[in-house]
């Protein structure tokens, strides 16, 4: 994490990351394959959130995630879906930051990303279960986890490669 960057630079890079994340999020919603499993997605936009986390820290990552789901919610018109994504985002960013702090050099972004994807699903399903008052929703968690672990691994590797090639402020 870089603390020595000027605030303006942080702000502009953050804005760029937010724009990139929104577009990625919007594009992946167009991939029809993932319509078979409601709620499942590639999560490629999480690359951007993870970059914000290692570059600027957890608060930037959290606000990036929340702003991103808000923007995508407004763009796609599914504003109610914002709540599901929002709960998932808060939980997953929190978990990713915790594991990054706990196992600093024992874990790579691939592992962080898989855990983030898992906790995103937990948040998503918890909100869904609360909305319909039905704990049966959690039966769906293992199915989502199976898919999200694989996609989380892939996006984690992407994020890791980017963060190694491109250091902020150099």
């Amino acid at each position: 994490m870089r603390t020595d960057l000027p605030k303006t630079k942080k702000l502009t890079v953050f804005a760029m990351l937010l724009a990139t994340g929104t577009v990625l999020n919007y594009l992946e919603a167009m991939i029809p394959v993932f319509n078979i499993l409601p709620g499942a997605k590639l999560g490629i936009a999480n690359v951007v959130t993870m970059l914000a986390m290692v570059w600027f820290g957890p608060f930037y990552a959290l606000s990036l995630g929340i702003l991103r789901s808000a923007l995508v919610g407004l763009m796609s018109g599914a504003v109610t879906m914002l709540i599901y994504g929002g709960a998932g985002t808060v939980l997953s960013v929190g978990a990713m930051w915790m594991f990054l702090k706990l196992f600093k050099d024992k874990i790579t972004m691939a592992g962080i990303s898989m855990l983030g994807a898992f906790f995103f699903n937990v948040g998503q399903i918890a909100v869904a279960a609360a909305v319909i008052h039905n704990m049966q929703m959690f039966r769906y968690l293992p199915v989502l986890t199976l898919v999200s672990t694989v996609s989380g691994l892939l996006t984690g590797i992407v994020a890791k490669r980017i963060s190694e090639k491109q250091m902020m402020g150099e």
Partner: protein, 140 residues
């Protein structure tokens, strides 16, 4: 292209594409536990007798209908949250029409075994096949 360690000191991340042991552990634990719980829930719910279709709206029971119908039974569920058209025929259930924006429960297709369900979150409608209430009997 590989420039070792000069830049990596900053990221506090192990170098290269290699995954650490913890990464592999996380991968294995997540995959194995989800496969096991899918198998486990399927074994539990497969034993149940599926004979009723339960429709719930906003967490409250809307109605129960026999699963095995010789002629197709069409339910029009109209509530303050929205409209869902449910069809039951000979052990199979589907939602054939709705006014909710994503229509995921329509795309989910047909359900036919105990514990399976179709969910329409925007309209707060759950259509499920009976069976899960017997979990306690298995759990002891």
């Amino acid at each position: 292209m590989k420039k070792p360690n000069a830049a990596q000191a900053d990221s506090a991340q192990p170098a290269g594409d290699a995954m650490t042991r913890l990464d592999k552990l996380i991968f294995c634990v997540l995959i194995v536990s989800s496969v096991l719980s899918i198998l486990f829930t399927n074994i539990i719910f497969a034993k149940k007798t599926a004979d009723e279709v339960i429709v719930e709206v906003n967490g409250e029971e809307y109605g129960r209908y026999p699963l095995y119908e010789k002629n197709v039974k069409i339910l029009d569920v109209k509530t303050e949250f929205g409209y869902n058209k449910i069809e039951i025929l000979n052990g199979k259930v589907r939602v054939s029409d709705t006014n909710c924006p994503d229509r995921l429960e329509v795309k989910s297709g047909i359900i036919d075994s105990a514990g399976e369900m179709l969910v329409c979150l925007p309209n707060r409608v759950v259509v499920r096949i009976s069976g899960e209430k017997d979990v306690d009997r298995v759990a002891y």
